[in-house]
């Protein structure tokens, strides 16, 4: 077994351990506070923990499948996210061709570019080629009603759900001296810090949250939750430095950047939900809502994490 594999097993075992503890806590809380299943907060917590098991197992399988597994997993996440996003847009019958192209050409091509490690095209395909050609396809349909809104929404959906998400598997393509072949662990680090930060902000907010940080956007986010959650996630991230090419201090700084971007990304995505009058992006993940509800912080953190690594550590 290689170093990478043994470290990966430690990580997966660690996640499993945390989930076992979470499930036990959930069970005790259910026995004490919601024996008849009537306490909604407890039921939601347990639904969330069950969904976490499924997500952890899915991502562990992907990690064990290495490059192929990770690329397929995030391509599927992009597909599910895009499906949720496009549902809430003004796209009409006239956009049917553009939409079909978005789902069945743009998305696979972007992940193919990750697969063949063509960085130049990976980074301009959606921002330039698709940006120019998609409105051409929509314009040729001849329907001009809400044209700018429809085209802009489609581009935004692609940037968020495909371009940004594809930066997670693209981490595998960085060449960091002394860290060859360990890219999967860098992805694990990103995902663990982002998701822990979300969970810890939720927990801190429930325990000591008083002052709302952005009451118009997201009534559940509090100053105390944000500070407690991001600081504790930063500390845990620093403690995970052994998975990364970073020193403990660097790992802490990276974690702080990830949690900050994740938090701000959550606010942006909440603003869109408010605008469209929905509480959740979808209904696919019991207790959590949709895929975007779980991915929103990863979406904003991944490109920043990718480029920080690229500027300061990678030689490609």
């Amino acid at each position: 077994m290689t170093d990478t594999q043994s470290d990966l097993f430690v990580v997966i075992a660690g996640i499993g351990g945390v989930l076992v503890i979470a499930s036990l806590v959930g069970l005790v809380l259910k026995r004490r506070l919601s024996p008849d299943g009537r306490n909604e907060a407890i039921e939601n917590l347990n639904a969330r923990i069950r969904a976490w098991w499924v997500m952890a197992i899915a991502i562990s399988i992907a990690f064990l499948g290495d490059r192929t597994g990770v690329i397929i997993l995030f391509a599927l996440c992009s597909f599910a996210a895009l499906r949720e996003f496009m549902t809430l847009t003004n796209a009409t019958r006239a956009d049917h061709r553009s939409l079909a192209a978005v789902f069945f050409i743009v998305l696979p091509v972007q992940y193919y570019l990750v697969w063949v490690q063509w960085y130049g095209m990976f980074s301009i395909f959606i921002p330039i080629w698709v940006f120019l050609f998609l409105p051409i396809v929509s314009a040729l349909s001849g329907n001009t009603r809400n044209f700018l809104i429809r085209v802009a929404e489609m581009q935004w959906a692609l940037m968020i759900c495909v371009f940004c998400v594809s930066h997670v598997p693209a981490l595998l393509n960085l060449t960091i001296p002394g860290y060859e072949g360990r890219g999967v662990l860098l992805i694990a680090f990103l995902v663990i810090v982002v998701q822990l930060s979300d969970v810890l902000q939720y927990v801190w907010g429930k325990m000591v949250g008083r002052r709302k940080i952005a009451p118009l956007l997201s009534p559940s986010k509090t100053v105390e939750g944000f500070i407690g959650g991001s600081l504790s996630a930063t500390l845990i991230g620093a403690g995970l430095w052994w998975m990364t090419p970073f020193s403990p201090v660097q790992a802490g700084l990276m974690s702080f950047a990830i949690t900050l971007m994740g938090f701000l990304g959550g606010l942006v995505m909440s603003a869109i939900k408010r605008d469209r009058g929905v509480k959740d992006w979808g209904h696919s993940i019991a207790g959590h809502g949709g895929f975007i509800d779980r991915l929103d912080s990863v979406i904003f953190a991944a490109p920043v994490f990718f480029h920080l690594n690229r500027y300061f550590w990678s030689v490609t």
Binding site: F79, A80, L82, R83, E84, M86, T87, A91, T92, R93, H96, L99, A100, F103, F104, G282, H283, S284
Partner: protein
């Protein structure tokens, strides 16, 4: 014969999987209990050829086994593949939509299936709605069916978004989230005239539509 049944079942499973992958269909039950194993007539808005497939996919497997969609013979009987999907996979009741082509009365066909214990999926608009209106004027078939079998629950069903997934003339479905909303059952009040009853049916359907709600 047995192989045929297995192929049909496999095809049914594949179609449900595909429908779920494209639409992530969510069943929303308001006012009708899906765990009760009752005989029902589900009547829904009709905007796409995929409509009954979506209702079928949204029903719990126990209810799915007993349900038979009512579909136009002119479309679903046209070639071997469609007959296989319509008759073998979905066990559809094919009815003649044009009066002059009829040899059997569609209402009698539906009533016969109800007498054998089946539940039905019907589209009272009679044809696909390709306009921007929420509903077309309703045909009288549902009224005549309710007259002949007044003890059966009629459950309104609103299919949301499927017309965006597969608009008129499109071959490739675009993945978008769909919901199938089941409302509270209604029956034909004995004193209702045809037009009163159809207005009632129409209101029951529109009450489930999130768009009609927002427009109010």
């Amino acid at each position: 014969m047995h192989i045929c049944i297995w192929v049909a079942r496999g095809a049914g499973g594949a179609i449900v999987f595909f429908a779920r992958a494209v639409t992530a269909v969510q069943a929303v039950w308001t006012g009708t209990d899906p765990t009760l194993d009752r005989q029902r007539v589900y009547f829904a808005n009709h905007a796409s050829h995929g409509d009954f497939i979506l209702i079928w996919s949204a029903l719990p497997p126990r209810l799915r086994k007993k349900v038979r969609p009512v579909a136009g013979a002119d479309y679903w009987g046209r070639d071997r593949l469609r007959r296989f999907v319509g008759l073998d996979v979905f066990n559809a009741i094919l009815i003649a939509r044009n009066g002059d082509e009829r040899t059997v009365d569609p209402v009698a066909q539906m009533a016969g299936a109800l007498d054998q214990g089946a539940s039905l999926i019907v589209f009272p608009e009679g044809t696909r709605n390709l306009t921007d209106e929420l509903l077309l004027p309703l045909k009288s078939g549902l009224y005549h069916l309710a007259r002949s079998r007044p003890d059966i629950d009629l459950v309104p069903v609103w299919i949301e978004n499927l017309n965006r997934v597969l608009p008129k003339g499109a071959i490739i479905p675009v993945p978008l989230m769909c919901r199938v909303i089941f409302g509270a059952a209604l029956r034909l009040p004995p004193e209702d005239t045809r037009d009163e009853f159809l207005a009632r049916v129409r209101d029951a359907l529109l009450a489930l539509s999130p768009k009609a709600e927002a427009g109010r």
